[in-house]
């Protein structure tokens, strides 16, 4: 059977689930794009960084903190960790070839993964999220409170970030440092710290994505690995250089693969990732710069 039985209510439910998936991809994709824009580094450790901070949240909650008490603490730790990683791990290889930097972020991913296994063990852990899994009726469609909460938190964070980048002096300085480091130094911006700040923000985005998705899946050191692939796909879909692109790309991807997985029989849950990558391949053939990116034109 190619097409499963269809009802509008179920379509709406699937859409909601897709948007929830997409919100997670969007957050992580945005983290990838922010780091890429400020440092031209593809951060392969983004997933592990997110999982690591989620484990910290788990430990805090295990020691009796409520989710919402642990939440800001974890964000602060994530931010400091992101800044520290840029300063300590990335700074020494700042001017190294791209391949070297790729290896460094891959190494960082392996290191963090190993650390998590040592500290928290490799077993699945139940992570109790802040939202209940019961469903409420939204215009005749039952949608889980958890899905709504995840989307609300993710979207809220994206909006906050957008406001920060658009309306604050620091946000402006960060954008300036990303597009033109030389001129930024000439107006007195400490470019090095801006790059570190970019990593800090990316780590916070990852931490939020991790704490949001952990209650849906299980918490283990590899939790983010598949999700990171989707996030990369979403970032590329959006154009890799465009924060809006990352968010739109994430949501689109989440919805598309959820619908494909549900309604196109042979894709199911096993072929979702290949299907997503196929879609992106096709899109990139049509629009090499992604949905929102600009293509670097090379004249010969």
């Amino acid at each position: 059977m190619l097409v499963a039985a269809f009802t509008w209510a179920e379509l709406a439910q699937q859409l909601a689930a897709g948007i929830r998936e997409g919100a997670i991809y969007a957050g992580l994709a945005l983290a990838i794009v922010i780091i890429y824009r400020t440092t031209r580094v593809i951060n392969f450790a983004q997933g592990e960084m997110a999982t690591f901070t989620t484990f910290i949240a788990w430990s805090l909650m295990n020691h009796g903190l409520s989710f919402w008490t642990a939440f800001p603490v974890v964000l602060a730790i994530a931010f400091a960790g992101g800044v520290a990683i840029e300063r300590v791990v990335l700074r020494p290889v700042e001017n190294a070839p791209v391949l070297t930097i790729v290896i460094v972020t891959l190494g960082l991913a392996l290191l963090l993964n190993g650390l998590m296994s040592v500290i928290w063990g490799g077993a699945n852990r139940q992570f109790h999220g802040p939202f209940s899994t019961r469903t409420i009726d939204v215009g005749g469609v039952p949608i889980s409170v958890q899905d709504i909460g995840i989307v609300a938190v993710s979207v809220g964070l994206v909006v906050l970030l957008a406001l920060f980048f658009r309306f604050t002096k620091l946000g402006l300085a960060l954008r300036a440092a990303a597009v033109n480091p030389e001129s930024s130094r000439l107006v007195g911006i400490r470019v090095g710290w801006m790059l570190a700040l970019g990593w800090g923000i990316a780590a916070v985005l990852g931490a939020v994505a991790g704490m949001m998705i952990a209650p849906v899946v299980f918490l283990d050191p590899n939790m983010m690995q598949t999700i990171l692939l989707y996030a990369f796909a979403a970032a590329v879909l959006g154009g890799l250089d465009s924060p809006i692109g990352a968010v739109v790309g994430g949501i689109l991807l989440g919805v598309t693969i959820t619908l494909l997985g549900r309604y196109v029989g042979f894709i199911g849950s096993t072929l979702k990732l290949p299907a997503a990558l196929m879609l992106i391949l096709v899109l990139l053939l049509v629009r090499p710069g992604g949905l929102f990116g600009r293509v670097a034109v090379r004249r010969v």
């Binding site: 402006l172 300085a173 597009v179 033109n180 030389e182 000439l186 107006v187 007195g188 911006i189």
Partner: protein, 232 residues
């Protein structure tokens, strides 16, 4: 003296571009740097702002000047580099705001001062800087520097590619800033007669060395300067 260079050398990799430059800029002075292409004028400005590796002493407002560009900017030096250094992806307003990055005061108030000289900018605040005309970009570059209220302004060929009327506006703005704010200017100019008309003093460079120095009037009447740089 606001700025003193003692025997400053600078190099690009193995290539030495400055072979021991000494020069001074007094408070409220406009000092011009002249010389043929490749003489090291741009490099002299870059040595001050720290955008090229240098050795030798640079003293700014009585203190040894840092070699890091962000630190020189914070010390009160605004450098409008060759090629203007505007943020072409950002809007005109964002460029101006970045110009005042090191200052705490009211940006809008500072910006009004810029618009008095360059009213064209005010009507284009939301335009992407990269899409401005060449003259407008030069105005923006200067406006951005004004936003910082620098003690010393380093200007690299402000008249390059501009209509004479715009050049006049720009030099008027300079005169005003150094009169009103006690700002000093170190300006590199190909247009020597223009530079000497406004400069209190000037230096002529040749292959990374100062070969002539003097007041604007002295240089205007100097035979060899006239023949090589003024062309009459």
């Amino acid at each position: 003296m606001i700025l003193e260079l003692h025997n400053v050398e600078a190099r690009y990799g193995p290539v030495k571009a400055l072979h021991g430059i000494s020069l001074r800029v007094g408070e409220g002075e406009l000092v011009a740097v002249l010389g043929a292409n490749g003489a090291g004028k741009t490099t002299t400005l870059r040595a001050v702002s720290g955008t090229v590796r240098r050795s030798g002493d640079v003293v700014f407002a009585g203190k040894k000047l840092s070699r890091r560009p962000e630190a020189t900017a914070r010390a009160g030096i605004a450098h409008v580099p060759e090629g203007r250094g505007t943020f072409s992806e950002l809007s005109v307003w964002e460029n101006l705001r970045l110009g005042g990055y090191t200052r705490r005061g009211n940006v809008k108030h500072e910006a009004r001062r810029v618009f008095e000289f360059f009213p064209q900018l005010e009507s284009r605040l939301d335009q992407q800087a990269g899409t401005l005309s060449g003259g407008e970009q030069q105005m923006l570059a200067l406006g951005r520097a004004m936003m910082a209220r620098p003690k010393l302004l380093l200007l690299d060929e402000p008249s390059l590619g501009l209509a004479p009327i715009v050049v006049t506006v720009i030099f008027e703005a300079l005169e005003h800033m150094k009169g009103g704010d006690g700002m000093s200017v170190l300006v590199v100019e190909q247009n020597a007669s223009l530079a000497l008309a406004h400069a209190t003093r000037a230096y002529v460079l040749e292959v990374g060395k100062v070969v002539v120095e003097g007041t604007g009037d002295e240089l205007r009447t100097n035979e060899s300067v006239r023949r090589s740089y003024l062309g009459y």
